[in-house]
């Protein structure tokens, strides 16, 4: 285990211990290490900043209230917190206020938070680049939008003007092909490949 992983492991243990004791000092620690990751995921789902801030606060309150029920055997603490953040964000998009106000905003300016990025900009790993380039155009397009630009399936539906069902079936095929590649290539690109697969699943919201 390298140093980085060791450090991460001990950070997680420390947070879990503080959680178990109901010690408030866990919160600044979580904030320092994970708030940007959580806020990033929330902002992908809730595009309006004021609401995204509310959701982040709500997420922390839920994390704190449920801290004692976190079970290490079921998964890592970050994943546990990420799922709380996702659910809170999704719930926020379902409220009447969001549907009336915020959603219109985000439709007027679709994906304003999603910077125009292309596969080229991010993929420094040439092995990964090779793998993605070997895929069929329509799957590359889906991966580009979902993984590299942070689109949801619904965003893709609007962007490419294809039915949601088609988006979902392309996502499924893309996942299947990535798994094939994972089997063939493995090695250094495998963590990136797996995170693309996770992104394709997560983006269905």
């Amino acid at each position: 285990m390298n140093n980085y992983l060791k450090k991460k492991k001990s950070l997680e243990t420390e947070i879990v211990d503080l959680f178990a004791k109901g010690d408030e000092r866990a919160i600044p620690l979580v904030y320092k290490n994970y708030s940007a990751n959580l806020y990033g995921i929330i902002s992908q789902i809730v595009t309006q900043e004021e609401l995204a801030k509310e959701v982040l606060q709500d997420t922390f309150i839920k994390i704190w209230k449920n801290a004692k029920s976190y079970d290490q055997n079921k998964g890592r603490i970050f994943t546990w917190m990420l799922n709380i953040a996702r659910r809170s964000a999704i719930d926020a998009t379902r409220t009447a206020a969001y549907k009336k106000g915020y959603k219109t905003d985000s439709m007027d300016a679709p994906n304003y938070h999603k910077e125009a990025a292309t596969t080229e900009m991010y993929v420094e790993d040439s092995g990964l680049k090779k793998i993605i380039n070997s895929l069929d155009d329509k799957y590359r397009e889906i991966i580009d939008l979902i993984y590299f630009k942070g689109y949801t399936h619904r965003d893709v539906e609007k962007e490419l003007d294809i039915p949601l069902g088609t988006v979902k079936s392309r996502v499924r095929s893309a996942i299947k092909q990535l798994r094939e590649k994972l089997k063939e290539e493995g090695g250094d690109s495998s963590i990136q490949l797996k995170s693309i697969i996770a992104a394709l699943v997560i983006s269905s919201i």
Partner: protein, 271 residues
Amino acid sequence: MNTTEYIESGILEAYALGMLSHQESLEVEAHRREHSGIHTELLGIEEAIEVYATRYAKIPPVGMEASIMEAIRAINPTPKTDVSSPTPGPSANSFNWKLPLGVLLFGLLGSLAFAFTNFQNKNKLADRVEQQNTEMATQKSECDDVKAENTSLEQQLLFLRSTDNQTIRMNGTDKAPEAFATIYWNQKNNESYLDVNSLPIPPAGKQYQLWAIVDGKPVDMKVFDVVADNNQLQKVEFIEKPQAFAVTLEDAGGSPEPTMEEMYVIGEVAS
């Protein structure tokens, strides 16, 4: 169980992302305990999810941490502070600190409790407003529906009350003795309405078709749908000089000629 197939089904990603039902999650957890391959795969997936989240990391706006801490303290009515540290020993000054300290503490706790209740009330109020907004939106849309139905019923009533109507009752044939339907035929306005009083709901792929008999020949008056609990008249084509009206059951979309064996109701126009 084939571990590889299980992994490739995508269920592990869905599990890690909290997208499974409670029952499905329990199953995954059971498999995880039994198969080390699944356990390893899940660890990899979780790491991959973190890589993904890091890609989209976004630093929250300034002030978020303070406001989160404040909110968390508000749900912890007894925060860990050093108020309960050992009381100071007897000092040179014989002034009794207990009373003012007690008053101070009392005041502090009081205002904390006040702030806490206030915060709770505010949250409750916000929830109520949200809930009532949703209710209002639902009721408004129901109201619009009722209004539209009302307008349509009023128009039908107006039509039915007109003295220029001729009412043709179509009775059930041997195929469906209980069935009946009515045609309202108005020569003055050149309008006809169909009232489906009682026709069985057609099987999938079939539709009823209305016919007029003119000069002894059937004239197509289009297919129509039968829905349960329907209390609306359907406007139909106006046909000059009808001798009779009838309804047959045809393949969905209708037929150029009526299928006589599939006739459900028929009624003659009194001359």
